[in-house]
Symmetry: C2
Subunit: 607 residues, 2 copies
């Protein structure tokens, strides 16, 4: 007897009724907010509402007589379970014989039919791709309707939290100074209007912050910039008196978040328009391109100039970041001590350990929020890339093996990210060998000297070489950029050994902040990751060019219980000892508890 | 009193007369043969004939009342001297305010005027660029005339030497087998005709060789390939009886080298045409594109499929190459001994040393020719990238400092390339430090383990890191591909830390042969380069992917007199000792002289 999921089926019926009213034959629901943020708020979980599947990647397509949901290999089992009895068919992406969404639509949609989607949650590239591929079928696109609006009656509100202002002192540059640099770029591209959709770029530019995306201190917003005006589109309710006054003084025009499209339509375009296709949703793009066509001007698709300006931190930002990382490192050090002291004595779970660390971080001055949900993964769980411990479903941490903790906070003064894998009991020689190679890789990359002109691709091998020499690899990038009181993941820089099409191989430049996080993951057994955050520092310039190197921002002990010096070259041992000397020197003044200090001295001893 | 160069001025007068007859207002003469070969034969030195400048890079543009010659910074002084009194103006490329050739033509050419050049010595990209840029001036291009033909009365002949056949056994694959792979690629690109202009690719494909380009065992040729025919365009005089019989048996149609364009015009195109813009000259391209337009088919510009097929050597090629490198290494070893034994005793110059080595190589079985002119550079001369010692102009090698020798041969069985920097007397501690770092870099790269998917960019830093750590760099790539009984430089693979637009960042794949040649160059003082040739070897495949590594092909001692172990990690010392163990083991059986053997044992001692 198959169990029917009446709740979902009823929702789909209502959706289909709505589709018929609107003349939409196929309706598509992906996983994204209006700005392609890393985390989507509950308001955006339309796909989940209509099929039950709540994984982080999935697209639902519904027609009058069928429904299909596409997701990737991480979620095949979960999706199958969650969609049981819903009548929604699972399409296993990248499996042999499984059509892509566009292949499916091409095969099924007939001449004259209409594909609908909310153009705000579809990227320009996906929208353009569908447009092009379905042209042969003479299919129309209807992208200005969010059909969930009427059907999903108890839908959560669009996130709407108070914005706040960061002082120019904290940011190192005023909005006016930053705007002037952006306008220089607009001139360089011979454009007179610039539409910016990327939330962290808008926050960086305006020195404002918000709280509309989980773990990202950003407000839902758009910015429309001309040579003599700056309009910020935000939800009216988010504007506090402080923000209003600041904007008035700064010459920031405040417009309603939902009036962007009509504002584009009302704009008098006097020249070409700058925008970044990667960050602009399809609805905005269509409004812009329609308007540009009408005015006889061009759209210039260029990388948002704010991206590079934001990536190379200024002196104030760097100074604050260094201090914030020290305090964050000291707190992590205290946490590591707490874990080691309490494991096997008081009941500890992955979840309770994470809660402990989160609450410790929250005590730090200027704490705003976690920079991402803390990953606390014990033994075999640490080998799973997307493991998330919850209160109800988590492992107990026993005095054997290792606990991997990847965590960070956003503070008034910077955003942190750090991973340590903590030995809590007996570990095998194999683990020691792999742990040592991971640490060696982290330190070799951190100690690299390289010429300006290098990208992350040039230096990645330094982090992997000790592992590759043993036939081991980690299937993730070595490093990502990190924001300043902003998102824990930001571009353009990253450290990878290969780039898929569309990934940006940016140069490493002074002032950039980047993670250095090699690891080893043995399925069903254990996971190791050691992550320090580095800043790119300017070195000597001579006849060969401009040399760069890294400096550590993270100063937390690396677990010597898992280090076996037989797998290290003398320079690796020196690098670890030098690092530990610095950890003790920099972090000990921030720790008052004598027991922890004694432990730290031992934990950072020279080997 | 300014001295007039009447010879050149008279030649220019004759050229201008010819230009007027042909209705050509500006005539352009670059530095290239019809196939963009690394070395141009005397026949192609038209630019030198009309302006006196004989450097390796220069383009002459002549109008009725002016003449200009463009060259790069290496040649400013030489060009000024050689063009004195010729009335030809020197345009210093990349200097501020100096127009490029196209900027110059745009500024000077008037509507209705004609730019002439021999379309066979201009690449498609340069030709298309001029076409596009001069379209605004309504300038015509005349590219089917080589005006030097009538004016240069004592012009050397077009190179024309006997071709010869390599056995299938020596090549590891027959022409028929290779052609079948090429036709698979033609099918993949949905093309029915393939025009191949690249000389070493044509030689690889046909298992033929020639002798028309200095140090490259290639014949001037084109190949036109369909699904049921293969036409080879060569000079009739180059076809020996052996070659004629071979071609008859292999189904290779022999056509005259100079009939390519008319053959293209006579071809009945039944489908799209495959060609590689990088390797096709402008005249050929225009003939192809005209014909394609006429037939209503498209030109598909793709990388010559022969390039990758040629780059990954087959087992026979690898087996032969390994043997050839051992013999070549043994000969170089004997040469190093000879230098060390004789320096300060008998008179030795850079040139005489090179002659000695060249004659020693010529004794080896299967020797065909040098793979490039031997570089023999003493002390400060070794710091100059383009230094060439001649009999009349070379330094004496004295018992102090170092002699850098970069050399190689082409043999029946492979093409070699190797650099050793030989200590001939006292050297400074600084030299020892830099020499050691160079050797360390060469060995670290050679010992790399890496995943398939890596390009030379991923691994380049292993060769440079020890130098970069000291703020030193070498301003050249780390490695290039090497042919099999073919050109010493071949693509697509190379090892570089950055790629200029147009440079191909190819993956490293099993069977590829690549050089590993870091160096240090201190202007006015000394130059160090150590070059080994490596083959890419397949390693283990596991859950992380397919691992690759390198194996040495070169086994010649590295001068321990310049090695200071204090600049080496234990693994670097182990790498050098292991390498020297292999050198002695592999090379000593090929050396009969007991004195040399004794010396080699000492020269390869463990440190």
């Amino acid at each position: 007897m198959s169990s029917e999921n009446k709740v979902i089926q009823d929702r789909l019926s209502l959706l289909r009724k709505k589709m018929a009213e609107e003349g939409i034959d196929y309706y598509m629901m992906p996983t994204s907010d209006f700005h392609n943020s890393e985390y989507s708020a509950d308001f955006f979980k339309v796909r989940e509402y209509f099929c039950g599947f709540d994984g982080s990647n999935g697209t639902l397509v519904v027609s009058q007589d069928a429904a299909g949901m596409w997701t990737d290999g991480r979620y095949f089992i979960q999706a199958e379970n969650q969609m049981k009895g819903t009548s929604v068919e699972l399409f296993r992406m990248l499996e042999p014989g499984v059509p892509t969404i566009s292949e499916f639509l091409i095969a099924n949609m007939k001449e004259g039919q209409t594909l609908g989607f909310d153009g705000r949650v579809i990227s320009t590239s996906i929208g353009e791709d569908l447009e092009k591929k379905l042209a042969g079928n003479k299919v129309s696109l209807k992208y200005d309707k969010d059909l969930a609006e009427d059907v999903w009656t108890d839908r959560p509100q669009l996130p709407c939290h108070d914005m706040y202002v960061l002082s120019d002192e904290l940011c190192g540059m005023s909005f006016a100074q930053k705007l002037s640099l952006v306008r220089d770029k607009m001139n360089e591209y011979s454009t007179t209007l610039y539409l910016l959709s990327k939330l962290d770029d808008i926050m960086w530019l305006t020195n404002l912050r918000g709280n509309d995306v989980e773990c990202n201190p950003v407000a839902l917003s758009y910015a429309m910039i001309t040579m003599d005006s700056f309009d910020l589109f935000v939800q009216k309710k988010e504007i506090t008196d402080e923000v209003r006054t600041y904007c008035q003084n700064a010459g920031i025009g405040l417009k309603d978040y939902h009036s962007l499209i009509s504002s584009i339509q009302d704009t008098n375009l006097k020249g070409d328009v700058l925008f970044d296709k990667r960050n602009t949703n399809y609805l905005t793009f269509k409004a812009l391109s329609g308007k540009a066509k009408e005015a006889g001007v061009s759209l210039k698709n260029e990388k948002d100039p704010t991206e590079m300006l934001k990536a190379c931190k200024n002196d104030t930002e760097l100074k604050n970041v260094r201090e914030v990382y020290l305090r964050d490192s000291a707190k992590l050090t205290e946490f590591i001590y707490w874990v080691k002291e309490n494991v096997g004595k008081t009941k500890m779970t992955e979840y309770s350990a994470a809660m402990k660390l989160d609450s410790m971080r929250a005590e730090l001055p200027g704490f705003i929020e976690l920079s991402f949900p803390t990953i606390s993964a014990y033994n075999a769980n640490a080998a799973m890339a997307h493991y998330e411990a919850t209160e109800d479903c988590c492992e107990e941490v026993k005095p054997e093996g290792m606990l991997l903790v990847d965590s960070g906070g956003t503070y008034m003064g910077g955003t942190t990210d750090v991973t340590r894998t903590i030995v809590v009991g007996k570990i095998s020689d194999e683990i020691k060998r792999n742990y040592t190679a991971t640490v060696v890789g982290m330190l070799r990359l951190a100690n690299a000297n390289f010429l300006e002109g290098c990208s992350g691709k040039n230096v990645d091998i330094l982090a992997r070489q000790a592992l590759w020499d043993m036939g081991i690899d980690y299937k993730h990038g070595t490093g990502h950029g990190i924001g300043y009181i902003l998102n824990v993941h930001e571009g353009p820089q990253n450290i990878r050994w290969r780039f898929t099409p569309g990934q940006n191989e940016a140069l490493l430049l002074p002032g950039m902040i980047v993670s250095d996080e090699p690891g080893v993951y043995i399925e069903g057994s254990y996971g190791i990751r050691i992550e320090n955050i580095l800043e790119v520092v300017s070195g000597q310039t001579n006849e060969y060019g401009h040399f760069l190197h890294f400096a550590h921002l993270t100063y937390a002990p690396i677990d010597l219980e898992a280090i076996d010096p037989q797998y290290m070259e003398p320079r690796d041992i020196k690098a670890l000892n030098d690092y530990h000397d610095m950890v003790y020197k920099k972090v000990s003044p921030l720790i008052s508890d004598a027991k922890i200090l004694n432990w730290l001295r031992e934990a950072t001893r020279r080997i």
